[in-house]
Structures are given as C-alpha cells and as structure tokens.
Symmetry: C2
Subunit: 349 residues, 2 copies
C-alpha cells in the first residue's frame, strides 16, 4: 500500500516524468475512463455526473477500469474540472452532450464572493476518499486532476463551452484587476484541490488548461501564466511530477513549461521533436497521438503510434499519450492495442 | 470600370499583397459582410442563404455594404465555401445557427460521381454576374472566394461542422487513393470557381482552408497540400494575388505558403513577426487581430490593433485583418474605428 504522494518513484511513468531512464515507454490515455468503455456505461447508469463523483466506491471503480483493461502505466482520477467549483456552491452542473453549464455566470466583482476558498476535507471529502481507495488498489501511480485557472474562468464567464471566449477575453482586457483577482481565487482553488489529492496519495498531478490554446502568447503570459504558476509552484515541495496540459497550444509550450511544469502535454499539431525544442531542457513531454486517428482502422492507428514513438526518438522524458482525450466513439480494443504496441515497440531511453 | 482580373494594381491592398511599398496600411475584415451589419439584416430578410447567393443584385449589395460603412481597402465576394458544391447538386444546404449540412455525406468511391466538374457559366452564372456588377461599382479591389479542398472535404465527409474531423482523418489514412481522388476533384472545383471570379473581374483570391489547422503538418503535407497547390498554381498565370488562409494553423504557415500563396493568413495565436519567419521571404502576411477582442470596449480593441501594427513593424507585405471572421455580436462601429485606426496610425512600408 502506498500512502505517500511521492510514491511509485521507480515506476516507468514517474521516472519518465522526471526525465530518468526507463525500462519501457510509459503510456496512458487522457479520458481513458468513461464513455468509451462498456464497463463504465454499465456501472454509471443514468445518474448525474456529479453524483458519481461524490460516490467514492463508484468513482474509484471507474478510475480503475481502464487500468485493468488497457494495462496503462498510470491511472488518472475520474473527475471533471468543475468539481471543486460545484463543491463550493458556485452553481455549476455537467449536462450530458453539452458539458459544464453555469447557472449564473461570473460577471462582476461581487461574484468574487461566490468563490470562497476550498476546504478539501469539508467540501470534497468524497474525492479524498476516492484517492485513498485508489492508492490501496492501484499498482501504478495515480495522477491527480484539476482544471487550470484560465479554463475554469472561461466556463464561469461564458456560462458553458464556447467557440470564441469573447466574454472571457473581453473581461481580462477590460478589467484586468477583476480578472487577476478571479484568477488568483481560482489558482487557490486548483492548488487546494490538487494538494488534497496529493495528500491522500496521488503520485503526480495534471493541470488541465484545455482552452488556453485560444489565447495569444502575449495574453497567456500576462493574464494566465501567473495564476498557473501559483498552482504549480505551490506543489513544488510535494515531491510529485506536475504535468501541464493544453490543446492547440503550440505557441504556448515554452511558457507552459516555465509556469512550473515537469512535463508539458503536447497535441498532435506539433511534433515531439519541435515541442522539446520549445519546452527546453529539463522538462519531459507527454503526447501526442491524434485521438481522431484512433477511430480509423488498426493499421492506420499503428502507423500513427509508431510515428509518435519514432518522433520521441529514444530520448528520455517521454510519456506516451493522446494529444487530447479519447473520443466517445473509440473502440476500446484499439486503445488496448496501442498500449501493447507502445510497450512492445517503444525504445526506452 | 475595371474589366481585367489583374486590376487595381496600384491600390494599397494589391501592392501590399505583392510586398510592394504602400502609402497606407490596407485593411479589410474576414466576414465583413453579413450578420453583424443592420443593413445586411434589413436586405437579407428570412430567405435561404443560397437563394441570396443566387440573386446577383442582392449579393452585390451585401458585398458592398461593409465597403461603404468601414472604408476598407478591399471587398470580398459574399459567398460560402459550399456554394459550388450546392451548384453541382451534391445536396448541401446552409442551416442558420449550424452551418453547412450535407444531406448524404461522402462515404465511398461511388460518391466521386456526385462531384462532377463545375461549369461556371452554367452552374454559377449568378456568381459571375455578381462579380461583374461589383467590379462596375467598386473603387477598391474585389477578392474572390473559395473553400480549399480539405475544408470542403471535411464538410462532405462529416456531413456538417465537426469538432474532431474523425471521419475525415480516418478516410484520408485508411483509403489514401480515394482520398486523393476526392481532393483532386475538389481542387478542380475550387480552381474553376476562382478562375470564373477572376475572369469576371476579381482582383485577388482567397482560398479558405479554415479547418486545416486541425491536422498535423505531416498529414497536411501528404494529404492536403497537393490539392491546394493545384488550385493556387492553377491561378499563377491569372495575375492576381492569391491569399491562403487557415485558423489554428501556426504549424502549417510555411507549407501553406509553399503551396503557392502570395499572402498567408495568420491567426492571433502566432505573432506576425514569427509568422513571417515561418512563411519565409517573398510572401506577404495577412492578419491578425483576435476577433473576440472586437467585442471588448474600444480602448481594449485599440490597444490590440496597435499591437498588430507594431508587430507588423513597418515592413512591406502586410494586410491588416482579423485572425478569423467577424463574430456575430460585433458592434460595427468598433470595426469602423479599427479601419480608421489602421489608416491613421499604421506606418506604411
């Protein structure tokens, strides 16, 4: 049984995150738990998503399912980025087919009062319990999960998913003081949420800034990076690798590393070779198979997975993953074969 | 009256496209015609989009509206990328709030027969007539408009707008021969559509590969670039600048230039300075104000527009534009002020 957050130090996943030599290329898949798995659909039923999150036995089971099925080198806590926001009562739900929907979006300074600090033991005891159950069960590292301040802010301000983030960008530029105050509260929230997961035994964390790729580098650096740095720096002493992920964020890779990441997530638009150049020495990379290709016939997927391995090129500090989450229609058998291919053909470094 | 496609050679817009010295920085806005304008909503009424396209007097009026209002340096034919597909009877409509919807998507080799060659004089006489009306009226260059083969293919295969292009990517990899045959037909279609517009008097063309940014550079180069090159090379002798546009396409800028562009469109994620480096010498750049910022208060917009001008830095070969189309909620007065700012503060080079 692992009880320290800094566990599994000798596992291929943790070693790769630290840029250390490994005996096999580690692999996991973003959104590996969930809709694509029949065993998930069976245990989940029709209940509310947030109710499943609040049920530690169920949430742990869902987290474990892909580890059993795929033989991946890490588990990731089954969660959603809005979980801590819902827990402090901001009024957010996850609507099937839509995503997070905020009842009363963030509009003005008075709304800051709706973002009280997260007291993890009181507000999300079920998450802590889920992590505890998982670290007892798992033989691979557990990755803790949180949304980054910008992506959280975009949901709070837009009220739900957005194509253009116009309200978010308008607020950040038109009222930088309010924006920075919002980001600072969200940084505290994300940090408290991740620290609680590490305290309960998570061996790594991933900070999801999924929508930061819609920003220019100048906007990212000025309006987003300080808050993300607060989260990542706040975990510097925890002894766990910190993965920092976005999508469509090729121009931000260097900054997302500098924000305090040990590992930078890379989508399929940028080669791993180029991503390493942008990220610079001393940080690992994670990625970057196009998840859309996993809906193609196996020969296509295999060729694409081999191309990722070749691009990673036997250099240390690579965690194999998709460039974004598993798409809903993905055949789980394809992912099993990808994991097997990475383990059998990947040249560890 | 201008009758040659190669007209307006001394206009700031055409000169900037050619990298020649200008006496003012030219500016236009993608989607400058349409929903954001009250005068558009007044003349358009509730009719079908494709019916408006088929009405030369109406379509010319819609194209002229933003030129009158904003004082921009170029008009762009009011159209949609699926117009030639609808004209050859593929079975596509434009659904308000959704976008192009294909009744019976492209699935197999037999569907190639549904993509017969475009005979512009027969299939889109109304487009030719619209262009003729416009070149009589306009005092600025008219830009012809067509979708690039990849973006057209993505609509044909997905059946409508998509988030992940999984079917499209699957087809290109799983059946490259069919894919290349499809792309070749679409290249012929786009080329015939643009050549007809140039023949009727358009002074430049823009090839919209709006969704190519979802592809890796390797996929773009292998599966998309040959067809786009066929379109752009096919217009090389026409004497008009060729603009090649995508969004989220930072990794593709060099290839999109090499495909045969005189001007490469740049979105706000990449600075113009970096875009010039990627595009290389001998090509101009167009962009790159974030359209989402145009929904912010004027001070924010002005600062952002000035940042674009500073980034362009008084080097020749810059056409000021947004990084993507005008968003529906944009206040037209903001765009008027942007055009004025570019004209009054831009340092021509």
């Amino acid at each position: 049984m692992t009880t320290a957050g800094a566990g599994h130090a000798e596992s291929p996943f943790i070693r790769a995150c630290r840029g250390q030599a490994v005996d096999r290329v580690p692999v996991w898949f973003m959104r590996q738990a969930g809709r694509a798995l029949p065993e998930y659909r069976k245990v989940r039923g029709e209940g509310r998503f947030l109710d499943a999150i609040a049920d530690p036995a169920l949430c742990a089971e869902i987290t474990l399912q892909p580890v059993r099925r795929y033989g991946v080198d890490a588990a990731i806590l089954f969660s959603d980025i809005v979980v801590p926001l819902a827990a402090i009562g901001f009024g957010v739900d996850i609507v099937p087919g839509t995503g997070p929907v905020v009842e009363s979006p963030f509009r003005r300074a008075a709304d800051l009062a709706r973002l009280r600090p997260l007291e993890a033991e009181v507000d999300v005891p079920y998450v802590i319990e889920t992590v505890r159950l998982l670290v007892q069960e798992l033989e691979v590292p557990l990755i803790g999960f949180a949304g980054a301040p910008y992506t959280l802010a975009s949901y709070l301000i837009e009220g739900g998913p957005s194509r253009d983030y116009a309200r978010t960008k308008s607020l950040m530029h038109a009222d930088p003081d309010l924006w920075m105050a919002l980001m600072d509260r969200l940084a505290d929230l994300s940090l408290a949420f991740l620290a609680a997961q590490v305290g309960a035994g998570a061996s790594a964390v991933q900070l999801f800034d999924s929508w930061a790729g819609g920003l220019s580098a100048a906007d990212y650096e000025r309006f987003v990076m300080p808050a993300s740095r607060k989260v990542l720096d706040g975990l510097a002493g925890a002894g766990v690798p910190r993965i920092h992920f976005g999508v469509g964020n090729g121009e931000l890779l260097g900054l997302m590393g500098e924000a305090g990441a040990d590992v930078v997530g890379v989508d399929w638009r940028v080669t791993l070779t180029e991503a390493r150049r942008r990220v610079g020495p001393g940080r690992a990379v994670q990625g970057n198979l196009d998840p859309a290709l996993c809906l193609a016939p196996w020969d296509v997927v295999a060729e694409a997975a081999r191309a990722v391995l070749a691009d990673a090129g036997g250099r240390p500090g690579h965690v194999f993953n998709l460039g974004h989450g598993v798409l809903p229609g993905t055949d789980p058998d394809i992912l099993t074969r990808v994991a097997d291919l990475v383990h059998s053909e990947g040249v560890p470094a």
